[in-house]
Amino acid sequence: MTQLGRVRLDDAGKRYVKYDDVPLLLTRALRFRAGHKKTHLWAVRHVNLTVEPGETVGVIGRNGSGKSTMLRMLAGVTAPTEGVVSVQGRVAPLISVGVGFHPELTGRENVYVNATVLGMKRKEIDRRFDSILAFSEIENFIDTPVKFYSSGMFVRLGFAVAVASRPDVLLIDEVLAVGDVAFQSKCFDRMEEIRSQGTSVLVVSHNLNAVRLLCRRTLVLHSGEMKFFGETDQAISMYHELLAVPLAERSEPGISGAPVRIESFVMLGENGLPTNHVKFGEEVAFVLEAEFLDDVVRPAFSIVLAHERGQIVYSDDTHQPEFQRSYAAGERARFEAKIRVTLPTGSYKVRSTVRWKVGDEADRVAHYVSFFVSGRPLVKGLADLDAGFKVEGGTAAPMDADPPPSEPLESDAR
């Protein structure tokens, strides 16, 4: 009985068959001898995963890495070609909210349809209807057809029903990206609640911060293979390594005829080699190399370090007397910014810009790198100020166990 909510994938793999032509009865009959043109494609292979009841596990990977196929197998929508997919209990997928919602029906009617699809019996729905209504905050509109609903209302209602169905396994994908911040924190709270009751949650997302906040363990998929399954921070760093995009794709569209061309922009670790994963306290150098195609007098170099979500942590500029230089056509420039990494765990982006002014016209070209910081545990926020702690009084009581789990201080850190 206590195994409800347990999910297990045992060497699971899914192979799709793609036919080159649209299968028609007539052509099939005629071509029976000739054989069919088809190609096989392994979307996912050799995946091993166990999720215990009450756990939240993340699944990350690039587009095309097999995430949606995995999601389908976990929902029971498609069966594996090899291996075993085992889910104990009721599954509620939140894949694209409002599964089964019909625009002509009212909210109330759609709740009943949706809930039945998710496996609830009529009496259960009757009993829980009021709490669904309360959670979704749609009281006044519950009897109007849903074609009049905003997308936010859709999400709220869909999520309310999915959670009310008391699933043993909850599958979530990008759907939570919709909805405002207040609603999202309501969702997180409700998920915490059902988690403590033994529901396991799988989060398939591109939103790495959400994954880090919610999931203790994460699976990394790449081209259908399982690259890593374990502690979320390590998983995210693996994801970034796999995500390393070739230089050419990382520059911003330059203006044609620009007098400057950025040749490279990299982050160098303490050993002087390019990297995109660093630890707190490391000293890194951001190095930009550019070639000038024309004479430029006193260009300015800048860097902007921003959190993945966009908040700017630090920005600075060389438009100061001691850094002014001029370049003639054909000359090269090297701009280096050395930083000691005092950041909490997270994904960051550094953007470097070269600005110039020719006559009255000013313009710029820019380039960026993204990287991941493995910061000190328990530290959250925009910067790790490394406060010196002192605790006095009482008697020392060293522990060898894990430190007490900290509450997600989402509201404090905002």
Binding site: V77, P80, V84, Q88, V91
Partner: protein, 277 residues
């Protein structure tokens, strides 16, 4: 407060499904079928101005038109008055042909739902069959009333309406299940069915009595499953041809065949049809 789960979950090893699992899951989904059938029915008639009246109004009008037009140039001897006779054929035929046509595309159209959450795929064709039941039941009452009004002698034969309806549902379900599955693999099935519908209609004795056919011709026509099904409806109001039971045996044979084929198809395909949607 631990809630008792509706289903204990699943364990998928490979792409095929056991027949016992299919049947069990389908039985467990009966509330879903009823819910979706009702939803289908209400949505269909919510926007129409006359609403539910269309459900039986249309077959009724059809029957009257056939009766009027045909009696202009053919004299059919029918056991009861011609319009009532025709309606007894049009009613089951309309339910049947609609269910088959909609059932064929039901899985494709239901892909929005089916690709996101699992439920036995057979639910989709069955929903199209069951959503027509409301109209059928009301129409049956109208048929009996019409027959009485037009002077037919109604008696204990009315009990035959029960097996008549059952056979109709079974036949429609059988075809819907098989064709719905095939349509996923062969996208032109619905066009084939569309083309067959009209000749099928002509060959089903909807608007003429079987007694008008030569004996040999009639024996061939009876292979058509719709003939037996319509005969049962006619027999309930005393309007069937002699030896109408023959057609019913053929219809039952079709039911057995169709469900066997459906079992084979769905075992293979229930958990993987999504891959093609």
């Amino acid at each position: 407060m631990a809630s008792v789960p509706v289903e204990q979950g699943f364990e998928l090893r490979g792409e095929r499904t056991r027949l016992s699992t299919l049947v069990r899951d389908l039985w467990r989904s009966r509330e879903l079928v009823i819910m979706l059938a009702r939803k289908d029915f209400f949505v269909r008639y919510r926007r129409a101005s006359l609403g539910i009246i269309w459900a039986i109004g249309l077959p009724l009008i059809q029957a009257i038109v056939y009766a009027i037009v045909l009696s202009q140039f053919v004299r059919f001897t029918t056991p009861i008055s011609f319009p009532a006779f025709v309606f007894a054929g049009v009613l089951p035929w309309t339910f049947f042909s609609t269910a088959v046509a909609l059932g064929t595309v039901s899985v494709i159209e239901g892909s929005a739902l089916a690709t996101k959450i699992y439920f036995p795929r057979a639910v989709l064709p069955l929903v199209t069959v069951f959503s027509g039941l409301y109209g059928l039941l009301i129409g049956t009452v109208v048929m009996v009333a019409l027959a009485a009004v037009m002077g037919a002698q109604l008696g204990p034969a009315l009990v035959l309406l029960v097996p008549a309806t059952a056979l109709l549902i079974l036949l429609a379900s059988g075809f819907a299940l098989v064709l719905g599955a095939l349509q996923v693999y062969f996208r032109d099935i619905k066009h084939v069915i569309g083309a067959i519908m009209l000749p099928w209609f002509w060959a089903s004795g909807v608007f003429y009595p079987l007694t008008r056919l030569s004996d040999d011709f009639r024996r061939v026509i009876e292979i058509n499953p719709a003939v037996g099904m319509i005969s049962l409806f006619r027999a309930s109001i005393g309007a069937a041809a002699p030896n109408w039971e023959r057609g019913v045996w053929w219809s039952l044979g079709w039911v057995v065949l169709l469900f066997s084929v459906a079992a084979v198809l769905y075992r293979r395909w229930d958990r993987v049809c999504v891959d093609l949607l």
